[in-house]
Amino acid sequence: MDILTELETLCGLNGISGDEGAVREYIISQIEGKCEYSIDPLGNIIAFCKGIKTPDKKLMISAHMDEVGFIVTYITDKGLIKFAPVGGVDPRIVFGKRVSIGKNGIVGVVGGKALHHLESDEKEKAVPFDKLYIDIGADSKEQAEKYVSLGDSVCFDNSFITMGDKIKSKAIDDRAGCAVMLDMIRQGVEYDTYFTFVVQEEIGLRGSTAAAYTVAPDYAIVLEATTAADIPASSDDKRVCELDKGAVVSFMDRSTMYDKELYQLAFDIGAQKGIPVQTKTMVAGGNDAGAIHKSRGGVRTCALSVPCRYLHSPSCVISKNDLQSVRALAGELSKRIFEL
């Protein structure tokens, strides 16, 4: 399977933090027979891929399976569904969107007062989460409760579309990383490698904390999607990174000060192999590296990310070329890291 088809399949699955089961099952179905794997108590997949060579150091490559979304917290007497965000969701992007609730994919929409009846100050401000609700067409609590339960997961309704050489979907953060790892497992590795598909990144790097302990790696490569703000509304110094400029390798973000040698190695490989690589021009965002690099006595860690516009929205946009760059760079780095 090519990596784009893989990404489309992965993005179509619903898996907010703590409810990654569907994503996990799919990934297991793809790696079965290709490597040894186990599922830890949190739901992380820890896969060991035997290579041609067995190095004296351990490498862990990691991506998270979960995505941002919502959780059902209350059902009103009128059958409207109240919810809270799971992970960082911008309240400005929620109103008017279609969502899918629970295992049965009950369709709902996020609504509120009609535009025509808003007071002037209400027109200026995003509706806060505690004032938003989902309408599934129910008229009463009893009716709604037949279809929806408290604690049900809520995901943005998805459409995976192509826009020129770009892709638009929900959940690209971080199914892009999962797709790259699946491709690496399929192609086979040169050195023995641990691949961890982890849970609960979006609510505080929880899955990776446990997985890094279990694997106890010497080196880690985190595969991610990271904020690209290369839109006209951002000045040049606030764009963080840009689409079509290649794999993003950061020196620092809000969770990690990255290993300098690995950072340099990634750029050297890019120059030698003609793989486009860029860095982040702002200290922004964070990812599982934040948990992994300080696991046990410390792990030398780097993060390779696909630049992604409108992260944490139903309309994440990435470039196909950048995804290929991350794939190529991850492949090379997973060999060269053992030469350090």
Partner: protein, 338 residues
């Protein structure tokens, strides 16, 4: 045709005010077996005359607007992003991260851009339409080869069924009204009528009702009914300002409307046991009836509204039962006209 299937043909079709042809033709295609319909490039309206049109009979005009709110492209940046202005009343709450179709030389998909929360200091303030950009994933050169200034865009969201008989999607305002007209013509298919039935699928309602003005002039009806959506109560609304979903058509009463027609519709609903609600207004109605009543030497007109939640968002909700009951009321009413 099943009402949901009609909506699935009408709602996804493109019809931002001034560019209604695709949506109008989707409606005319369904109506084709029942009479003669034409799309009028002069007005942007689609006019459908039911079979058996007879100059000697009086004409009732049934209006539903076929246009929808959206955006018009005003500028293309060097890196391929589109600046837009609103066409009709755009709800700022629903802009960010919405998926859109841009109707250029070909239809192109895009998304409305937002700064990610990681970089946002104040994520409470909503952007103005003048602040947003549409990202179509193209370079400036590619974008300019397909998109021209003045091209229109609208949000993407095909109809989906919710619980019971409720439906959500974009452009239910006012393709629900168009669906009422189509259902009515279907119900009246083989009936001999005392009047000519002419449908006006009007353009540009969302920008001052221009289509209804010109359309009513050309048709010269003897009476008219304008079918549009109106506010259905939901949490946070004032009950006094709203109808209710699933409680039937909202028959309009207003100083600007023909009370005789309002009363006739109410009697018909009572007699035929069709659920209905009243929508009391105190002057202009905010619908095409405002234009039609003062067309030529004046036309006796009334409004009938389909209750709708979340108007002017991609999440609009109507109840199919309301559409069906509105069509039933209309068919009974017209069947009784002499």
């Amino acid at each position: 045709m099943e009402t949901f299937d009609i909506l699935c043909k009408l709602c996804p079709s493109f019809g931002v005010s001034g560019d209604e042809q695709e949506a109008a033709e989707a409606a005319l295609k369904i109506l084709a077996p029942y009479g003669e319909g034409t799309f009028d490039k002069k007005t942007g309206n689609a006019v459908f005359r039911r079979s058996g049109y007879d100059e000697s009979k009086k004409t009732i005009l049934l209006d539903a607007h076929i246009d929808e709110i959206g955006f018009v492209v005003t500028y293309i940046t060097d890196d391929g992003f589109l600046k837009v202005a609103p066409v009709g009343g755009i709800d700022r709450r629903m802009l960010l991260a919405s998926e859109v179709t841009v109707f250029g030389k070909q239809q192109v998909r895009g998304v409305i851009t937002s700064t990610p929360p990681h970089l946002e200091d104040d994520n409470k303030k909503l952007p103005e339409v003048s602040d947003i950009y549409i990202d179509i994933g193209m370079t400036g050169e590619e974008a300019r080869s397909i998109i021209s200034l003045g091209d229109k865009a609208c949000v993407v969201n095909s109809p989906v069924r919710l619980l019971g008989s409720r439906v959500s999607g974009k452009a239910l305002d006012d393709r629900s009204g168009a669906a009422v007209l189509i259902k009515t013509v279907e119900l009246l298919a083989d009936k001999q009528l005392g009047v000519n039935v002419v449908l006006l699928l009007s353009s540009k309602e969302e920008i001052h009702g221009v289509g209804a003005m010109t359309g009513a002039f050309d048709i010269s009806p003897d009476m008219a009914i304008a079918f549009d959506v109106s506010f259905a109560y939901t949490q946070g609304e004032d009950k006094e300002e709203c109808g209710e979903l699933s409680k039937g058509p909202m028959i309009g009463i207003s100083p600007s409307l023909s009370r005789e027609l309002s009363d006739a519709l109410i009697s018909c609903a009572k007699e035929k046991n069709i659920p209905y609600q009243l929508e009391i207004m105190n002057g202009r109605t905010g619908t095409n009836a405002d234009m039609i009543t003062v067309s030529k030497g004046g036309v006796r007109s009334v409004t009938v509204s389909i209750p709708e939640k979340y108007m002017h968002t991609p999440a609009e909700i109507v109840d199919i039962d309301d559409i069906d009951n509105t069509a039933l009321l209309l068919a009974e009413f017209i069947g009784g006209l002499e």
